[in-house]
């Protein structure tokens, strides 16, 4: 891949490229943010372990590639096949992981329907948070023990095709990321809005007690929400591995936090909000790093998060959480 000598870019093309950069990482944030937002919507829990699920997804995709012995870029049927296999293993594995976490760690802490539904102080809230953090530590360490503490190389099996237009460049990989996340997000929106299951999810998010009275299997819906969110995070993980070519057991923490910021940015509990939030955050980061300073890039995310929570906690599109008495 020969590199031509640098040509000076016009400010317009520079901006365009930064936007493309931001869009790409933003798409990944959006996929992860969906998991946070859906779970918070139904049980008002910040699933701290969600970032690790994303990381596990990346490692599962890596495992799939190692098993299949992929080392070179592929084309055509092989490409689609491998992509599908990776996604399948990642979603399958993480879906089960999400279910497991919900069942074993979080469900036992939820107040049983027989008990009062009024506020019971901060202790249960804190207990859930501590549990979530415990799960997060456990997963990080488990992956480190299984796969080693060094960065693992993620095989780049997307052909390295690049298009240039007046200095702005776009790679095939970026297009793949946009398309994959776009398709998934549209599918989710359709699921939530147009199917019976989706309606049940929205109802549970709004008022679980009423749902129970109506015979909706609330526990199962919650479990499904976890599984779905984890599946999305898994795809995000795979795309992340493809984009950066390395995976490390520590990747979940920071990316998870940023994705959570994105979820809050869009309005926690609001599914289109998570998508918008992810893209906006990615673009803000890219523009900040490109025009201001690269070192402070991570601070932007946190400043946005803190600023949002202080001044507009409902986010860009408004939050959707259950009303509590």
């Amino acid at each position: 891949m020969g590199l031509t000598s640098s040509i000076l870019m016009s400010p317009f093309h520079l901006l365009l490229q930064q936007l493309a950069n931001g869009f790409t990482i933003g798409a990944i944030y959006a996929l992860i943010a969906l998991g946070y937002t859906m779970v918070y919507g139904v049980i008002r829990l910040i699933n701290f372990a969600h970032g690790e699920v994303f990381m596990v997804g990346a490692y599962l995709a890596l495992t799939a590639l190692l098993i299949l012995g992929v080392a070179q870029p592929l084309t055509g049927v092989a490409l689609v096949g491998v992509l599908t296999a990776c996604i399948a293993l990642a979603i399958g594995g993480c879906g089960m992981l999400g279910l497991g976490i919900e069942r074993l760690a979080y469900r036992p802490l939820r107040p049983r329907p027989a008990e009062s539904s009024g506020r019971s102080g901060q202790a249960p809230r804190l207990a859930a948070l501590i549990t979530a953090i415990g799960v997060s530590f456990f997963l990080q360490n488990a992956v480190m023990l299984l796969y080693g503490a060094t960065d693992r190389r993620f095989p780049a099996f997307i052909p390295a095709r690049r298009w240039e237009w007046g200095g702005t460049s776009l790679t095939l990989l970026q297009v793949v990321i946009w398309l994959t996340s776009g398709v998934l997000m549209v599918a989710l929106q359709m699921l939530v809005m147009s199917t019976k299951l989706g309606k049940a999810m929205r109802a549970t998010a709004q008022d679980p007690t009423a749902c129970r009275l109506l015979g909706i299997p609330v526990d199962r819906i919650i479990a499904l929400t976890f599984a779905l969110g984890s599946g999305f995070a898994a795809v995000g993980g795979m795309l992340f591995g493809l984009y950066y070519n390395t995976v490390n057991f520590h990747d979940g923490y920071l990316t998870g936090l940023k994705a959570f910021t994105a979820a809050v940015l869009g309005g926690i509990g609001n599914i289109p909000g998570a998508m918008v939030g992810g893209l906006v955050l990615g673009i803000l980061e890219a523009l900040g790093a490109g025009y201001l300073s690269s070192q402070w890039k991570n601070v932007f995310a946190f400043v946005v998060l803190v600023g949002l929570l202080l001044f507009k906690p409902t986010g860009l599109l408004g939050e959707r959480v259950a009303d509590r008495a």
Binding site: S6, L8, L14, G167, S169, A286, G290, S294, N298
Partner: protein, 385 residues
């Protein structure tokens, strides 16, 4: 209330007794032993370099033992500690080693940001410290007589790179990056000084954070400035990502770095295609082309496979430390330090080894490498003036 208080007392008392017994039990030894500490990143993203250094050190110990008793009546062991290129952990490791009376010398660390704070602790404990590859010049300027290093320093590496960039690559517009560590920032500053002195234009000098992954916005910004060359003073994990993303973003021109990039993992992570044509300097000559290193190369490759970037330096540092112990003839830290001062014309892997009064090696070769067909290729020894 009273009840809980006495229960608690008993609990605490028992706890402390148990703790004491446990901890005391840990301290038992059987036969007399003398230990050399070895501190490097053994886990984490730089583990491949730390690991290859450990191999070199282990090999040095074996070779020394094969030549007879190092210190009659004692077993000699290597104590490996992990610093994960974190200065805090390096300090903790240093304290641990210093508190162990069996440890008489230390080979460490890899990163200058770790070696620097650790050197103060070793100095206070009067314990010999030889760093294989920490190249920041400030470390030897602290006036610690316990500090030695078996590599060249960045006040040579930086200018050497600058000369190459201006005189042989003909670059006029250069963008500088560093990873804000002691090593990276120091090297980049040396490079910049010489570059300006030679009349080239420094477009800007920015920092990246270690552990960061996404450099596409930064590289896009650099692309808009159209530099002839981008110079990165930092380690290979970030270097690999920079090289790879630079290709994706379409940033043209050359890319050059320092010895921190010199690891085969760099080419693997960056992809051979993107890494093609990347230049870098090293803090010593090519070990494959040095006649005095032949035996080491053979032994290492037979045992461990391909040689890592820093294996030879770790081998050298450990061998010299062992020599000092043998020369002192006793387990006393100060005696070993005194013995080290008497070192003259040591037949080392890189040639005849001597140290100046600051502890810097008098072998001051700066190697120049490029990446060709997915491998590092030695070009020549660079000059710095």
């Amino acid at each position: 209330m009273f009840n809980t208080h006495s229960t608690f007392q008993i609990q605490q008392h028992a706890g402390i007794c148990l703790l004491t017994v446990l901890l005391a039990g840990c301290g038992q030894q059987r036969s007399p032993v003398v230990k050399i500490g070895f501190v490097a990143p053994l886990t984490g993203d730089q583990a491949s370099q730390g690991g290859s250094m450990r191999n070199g050190a282990t090999l040095a110990l074996e070779h020394a033992k094969a030549h007879g008793d190092i210190l009659p009546g004692y077993r000699v062991e290597l104590v490996e500690l992990d610093d994960q290129h974190s200065p805090t952990q390096a300090v903790a490791a240093a304290k641990k080693l210093v508190a162990d009376p069996d440890v008489v010398a230390v080979v460490g660390n890899l990163n200058s940001s770790c070696t620097m704070p650790a050197s103060a602790i070793y100095h206070q404990a009067r314990m010999l410290q030889i760093t294989p590859v920490s190249s920041n010049p400030q470390i030897s300027r602290q006036g610690f007589d316990t500090f030695y290093r078996t590599c060249a320093t960045d006040d040579l590496q930086g200018p050497a790179a600058a000369l190459f960039v201006v005189r042989e690559l003909g670059a006029k517009r250069v963008f500088l990056l560093d990873d804000m560590t002691t090593y990276g920032r120091g090297l980049a500053n040396e490079f910049e000084k010489k570059l300006r002195a030679l009349g080239a234009q420094v477009l800007d000098h920015e920092g990246i954070t270690q552990g960061d992954k996404d450099f596409t916005p930064l590289l896009t910004k650099i692309k808009a400035l159209a530099p002839d060359l981008v110079y990165f003073a930092g380690m290979f994990p970030e270097g690999a990502l920079l090289i790879k993303q630079r290709a994706e973003v379409g940033l043209g021109g050359r890319f050059m770095g320092g010895d921190g990039l010199f690891d085969p993992v760099l080419i693997e992570l960056a992809t051979p295609q993107a890494a093609e044509g990347v230049y870098l300097t090293t803090i010593g000559s090519d070990v494959h082309q040095t006649p005095t290193a032949k035996d080491f190369v053979q032994a290492y490759e037979a045992r461990y496979g391909s040689i890592g970037a820093y294996s030879a330096y770790a081998y050298e540092a450990t061998s010299i430390a062992l020599w000092a112990i043998g020369r002192a003839g006793t387990k006393d830290r100060r005696a070993i330090l005194a013995a080290m001062k008497t070192l003259k014309d040591y037949p080392g892997v890189f040639g005849v080894q001597n140290f100046d009064d600051k502890g810097d090696s008098l072998i001051r070769d700066i190697g120049l490498f490029t990446v060709n067909n997915g491998k590092f290729v030695f070009l020549k020894t660079a000059s710095w003036d």
